[in-house]
């Protein structure tokens, strides 16, 4: 079986939100744009949270879709929120280097 390639997306949020809320927001947005099949194919997982920075894991082919979903999120309940994609990395080691280097 061919090993599926993964990508890690480092995302910065404009306000500090809990990991669960972040995951729900991302999944909801992805679901709205690409549907149930898309969400399962993308295999989106929230790997880590450091202050207002999150690390997301997804399949290699779903990176543009996930970026589009992230950038279409503008509201959290009544307040405005924005997610900024900082970097895309292929390995956890690289993610660590980027976060330490910031």
């Amino acid at each position: 079986m061919v090993k599926r390639k993964k990508r890690y997306i480092i995302v910065e949020t404009s306000s500090n939100i809990p990991l669960d809320v972040f995951r729900k927001l991302v999944e909801k947005s992805y679901l709205e744009l690409f549907g149930e099949f898309g969400l399962i194919q993308a295999n989106v997982k929230v790997v880590k949270k450091i202050d207002s920075t999150f690390v997301l894991e997804c399949s290699h082919g779903s990176v543009p879709k996930l970026i589009l979903s992230l950038s279409s999120i503008t509201r959290l309940e009544e307040g405005a929120i924005r997610f900024r994609v900082v970097k895309i990395a292929g390995t956890v080691k690289k993610v660590r280097e980027i976060i330490v280097g910031e």
């Binding site: 543009p64 970026i67 589009l68 950038s71 503008t74 405005a80 900024r84 994609v85």
Partner: protein, 226 residues
Amino acid sequence: MGRSYVDFWINLDEEVDQSEMLSEIRKLGFRRVVVSSMDKARLEEFKKLGESFGVEVYGKIVLVPEDRPALLKDLRSRRGEYEVVSVICNNLEVALTSARDSRVDTVIFPPGKKFRIDKGVAAVIKNSIELPFRWLVDETTRREFIRLAFEVVNHLFGKTSIIVSSSASRPLELRSPFELSSLLEVLGLDRNVALDSVSTIPGRIIETNLLKLSPSYVARGVLRVG
């Protein structure tokens, strides 16, 4: 050398903290922005402030004409005042005229348009198509905008160039070049082609227009030297 990213539309009609806007633009990685504002003084102020942030600012006028004569009248009177001219086409008559007029730089189709983009439009189009990202972010226009973007990519890609701009009026509405280009990537374009829509294509339009507005410009292909 890396790409020089351009945000081809920032709307400054609303009152915003200009320093915050510019620092956000710089942080997102843009070196050049094109700004539209009804208030010319505000536009000039933004241009001056842009220099201190290392961001080149150019002026843009967005025309929303009702018919062909109104469009031609607006173009005659305002072309020389701004670096970039865009037209929002609410009907087919305006779309067909603005698509082939050399004074227009980009054509914008609104999400709820009442005409189809088909072979007829594709046959005459010469100017670039602009897709404002704000319409994707706004939930009320999202579905129509995605449909429009699909139509544009299916019928017009290869015949003309496509530009994605943020059309942001507040710092929170700004998006990075990768976020903007992801729209075209999702619609099936190659990553490099998608990135061209926020870098080389708008950059080329700005450079051409700066040359046109310079005093040494005589006619297309003719420059006064010395």
